[in-house]
């Protein structure tokens, strides 16, 4: 039986993931609409928009980092479960936990490096070089550590649920 705090926090993490996924999907749709309007402006009205390239790149950064954790939660990042299945059943749970810890380690490395880059962007307060719109880097990069932090929390939620499942048996 999982403790209440774990159920509640897992529930919150899942909800955040749903919001993140929906927002990421909206960004994907926005990329389509922005490029579509540029196609119309460029080929029909002969008036291309110079900002499209930059704005779509920024939206892709948001779309990716927001969907990072929900994809992990849904098992959407491709993995190979063949080797795990070949192991005796009693080892499979242990291997899953090892895998969870490795994913956690990766998430922590990703988070700390992204955070360091983002803090640097905040300190420098620079705008993107060679960009047609004066967008400050910090406003785009800041989604990186947020997405990575959610990735860590999702890994922790999956891992602790599994640990309690094992204890329950």
């Amino acid at each position: 039986m999982q403790p209440r705090w774990l159920i509640a926090s897992t529930c919150v993490i899942s909800r955040v993931n749903r919001v993140f996924l929906a927002t990421s999907g909206i960004f994907a749709a926005l990329i389509m609409f922005v490029i579509l309007q540029d196609v119309v402006h460029r080929y029909v009205l002969n008036d291309p928009s110079s900002w499209v390239l930059d704005i779509c790149s920024f939206m892709l950064v948001y779309a990716f980092f927001l969907a990072l954790a929900p994809t992990l939660e849904a098992g959407g990042h491709v993995s190979v479960d063949l080797f795990n299945q070949m192991l005796p059943r009693r080892f499979q749970g242990g291997i899953f936990i090892l895998g969870g810890l490795l994913t956690l380690f990766f998430g922590v490395v990703l988070f700390t490096t992204l955070l360091s880059e983002t803090l640097e962007a905040f300190a420098d307060d620079n705008i993107f070089p060679a960009s047609t719109i004066a967008m400050k880097m910090k406003y785009i990069w800041m989604i990186g550590p947020i997405g990575a932090a959610q990735f860590i929390l999702t890994t922790l939620a999956l891992l602790s649920s599994r640990l309690y499942q094992r204890q329950g048996r």
Binding site: L21, A29, I35, H77, L102
Partner: protein, 433 residues
């Protein structure tokens, strides 16, 4: 030899990490982190963040969610069913007409969808039950659909080619154009395999006796007309240089959504599913790319790809034999990894050798793509095998595997033909230039 040892250690470490069930992207990323920390510099680990930011803000990659969105939107329209019906009616006289029709339907769907599992799932969900209903051998029905689904990553637009283009800095437009003729060739080889199989063992695909009138055929063609127009718009605009792949992707995605709306399939729940799937697949794809690029960064800093290139060229072997050996390695790895992972792991290592031997990067891209098509149907971890098992409820995995194995032969024959006649891939890009 050091380079080979380095590569061998990399593959062993990768397999060890994969054995824990972690995502492939996490495994390649971790190897990059550990390798960089131990052998390059602890400070260089921060490169993973730089790669993550630069990859996700790379404008070319906005094409990824667009083509995924296009495929996801079309998958809900029922166009797969219409394509299958049209192909079935037009090819009725062929031996194994339903199976050949399945390949043609996959070919048509591949022209608007860049994903192999989505193609296999969309066509397979109705083609397999239909074939089984008409007395087709279950293994043939499942095998032909799994193999036909692989066309999704060869016939443009192709997610695998975008990945290859980004890793090797090869023009994605050229890759798309180069994939057209090999895609048609592979579809023809798969169809030929079906016809020969059915001629040898007629009981596996009973001939259809129903008389079909011509107006019925044209009506069926009318149902797939919007998709034909959409694929022509997307591929034609890239081919004739009217639009960039990104612009074509946006028009394609909007067109697909319009077709879905016209077919009255776009409920709020369906839109949420389409956008959710698009976001998830995009994240999966980009994380795979980031992990692959970071491990490639580490290998490059250690001189592994360059060392491999020098060692391979130094071998007293003709270049074509080296290409075949690389292909064999791809096939073996494809048995244990999904197609995209094979691509991000192998291409950065062998690409310098391919360039050094004077081969065309576009040609190699098509070759690698056909090879990872084999990976998609190679047991034990062929993606399409599992996709089919999940969309055809009563299918069992051993039937899917035994049915698919035979179709590795035409795909391998396609690779050989492409090695012998590179112009199959290079003819159309050459025309455009």
């Amino acid at each position: 030899m050091e380079a080979f040892a380095g590569f061998a250690i990399f593959v062993i470490a990768l397999l060890a990490f994969l054995a824990t069930g972690i995502p492939v992207a996490v495994a390649t990323g971790l190897i990059g982190v550990i390798g960089t920390y131990l052998f390059v510099s602890p400070y260089a680990v921060s490169q993973i963040a730089i790669i993550a930011f630069s990859t996700t803000s790379y404008f070319i990659l906005t094409v990824v969610p667009l083509f995924i969105l296009m495929g996801e939107a079309l998958a809900v329209t029922g166009i797969g069913r219409d394509l299958f019906r049209a192909a079935q009616l037009w090819l009725q006289r062929f031996p194994g007409s339903l199976a050949v029709g399945t390949i043609f339907a996959c070919t048509g769907f591949s022209a608007v969808c860049g994903s192999s599992p989505v193609t296999a799932a969309t066509i397979g969900a109705m083609a397999v039950p239909e074939m089984v209903h008409h007395g087709y051998d279950r293994r043939l029905a499942l095998g032909v659909t799994a193999a036909g689904g692989t066309l999704g990553i060869l016939i443009p637009p192709s997610i695998a080619m975008i990945l290859y283009g980004v890793i090797t800095e090869t023009s994605i437009g050229d890759l798309f154009i180069a994939g057209i003729l090999p895609g048609i060739m592979i579809a023809a080889l798969l169809s030929l395999t079906v016809v020969l199989l059915v001629l040898a063992r007629p009981h596996i695909a009973p001939r259809q006796r129903k008389t079909i009138i011509w107006p019925e055929r044209f009506r069926a063609l009318g149902a797939v007309f919007p998709v034909l127009v959409l694929s022509f718009l997307v591929l034609g605009s890239i081919y004739f240089g009217v639009a960039t792949p990104t612009e074509a992707g946006a028009v394609g995605a909007a067109g697909a959504l319009a077709i879905a709306a016209f077919a009255k399939k776009l409920t709020p729940a369906v839109i949420a599913t389409i956008l959710g799937n698009t976001a998830r697949t995009t994240a999966m794809f980009l994380l795979l790319l980031i992990g692959g690029l970071f491990s490639a960064f580490m290998l490059t800093r250690l001189g592994v790809p360059q060392g491999m290139a020098n060692a391979l060229i130094g071998l007293d072997l003709p270049p074509w034999l080296i290409v075949i050996l690389i292909n064999l390695l791809l096939m073996v790895l494809g048995m244990f990894m999904d197609p995209m992972s094979v691509l991000v792991i192998i291409v950065p290592v062998f690409f310098p050798a391919i360039l050094a031997m004077g081969y065309d990067p576009v040609w190699f891209g098509v070759l690698v793509t056909i090879n990872i098509e084999i990976a998609a149907i190679s047991p034990p971890v062929g993606f399409n095998l599992f996709v089919l098992k999940s969309v055809v409820p009563d299918a069992n995995l051993s039937e899917v595997i035994s049915g698919s194995l035979l179709f590795i032969v035409p795909l391998a024959a396609g690779i050989l033909l492409l090695i012998l006649f590179p112009q199959i891939a290079l003819f159309l890009p050459g025309l455009v230039k």
